[in-house]
Symmetry: C2
Subunit: 116 residues, 2 copies
Amino acid sequence: MPIELTASQALGLWHGVTLDQVRHDERDLTLRQLAILLHIYLVPPPHTVRGLAAELNVTKPVITRALDTMGEMGLVDRMRDERDRRNVVIKRTVGGALYLEKLGDLVREHGRRQSP
Amino acid sequence: MPIELTASQALGLWHGVTLDQVRHDERDLTLRQLAILLHIYLVPPPHTVRGLAAELNVTKPVITRALDTMGEMGLVDRMRDERDRRNVVIKRTVGGALYLEKLGDLVREHGRRQSP
DNA sequence: GGAAAATGGAACGCAGGCGTAACGATGTTC
DNA sequence: GAACATCGTTACGCCTGCGTTCCATTTTCC
């Protein structure tokens, strides 16, 4: 069932979540980094650097650097593909799942606060 | 009436909108810049640099620079407060309203695409 | 009127993301 | 097996946002 939002609800939702994110903001992900993270966790694997770059319409180094940064944060992991060793498969981590779980909760919480 | 979202819907919504934003990405606002913009347009005026800084839990120069950047983009305007000339009042613009209108549409569109 | 406080902005050096262009490693083709 | 293609990464110079600190202007308070 689709979610019907008024214009005011849509922006109010975005406002609330963004505000919370900025206020507490431990990790401070770029919009691109967040998009990559969400893509990795919500779209069925496998994910490769080239695939993500094409999917998000960005250059390859953008993906590499985002994986570097988020890898250090423990949000994501990388492994060489043993079947074609040119490829790198991007792996999910417990930390990443937790991060997105919190984000999801934040969205739901602010959704509940909206009035029509 | 509150909006009830499942965890999957919440993240799916965020994913879709973020992805669209990254893919087309004309202006490429920082998360902080977006939070400031939304705050200016959704919370009743007047807005001052100091007030916004306190509200978002960031330092003053962050607000000043964000207003510089978004001012050049035509999303926001600044005027000296004539009653207390130390203050600067932040003004909305047609460009900013249009930008947020599009963002709202994007959110609503992706909301409609979610399944429970 | 003069000291103190408040406001927004500028200056500084720093950190990190950006796109382009290369590179090494691996796989494919003939 | 030699040439070519593909993949992820690195190197480079650039740009922009960051926090701290300081400053000029304006207001408030005795």
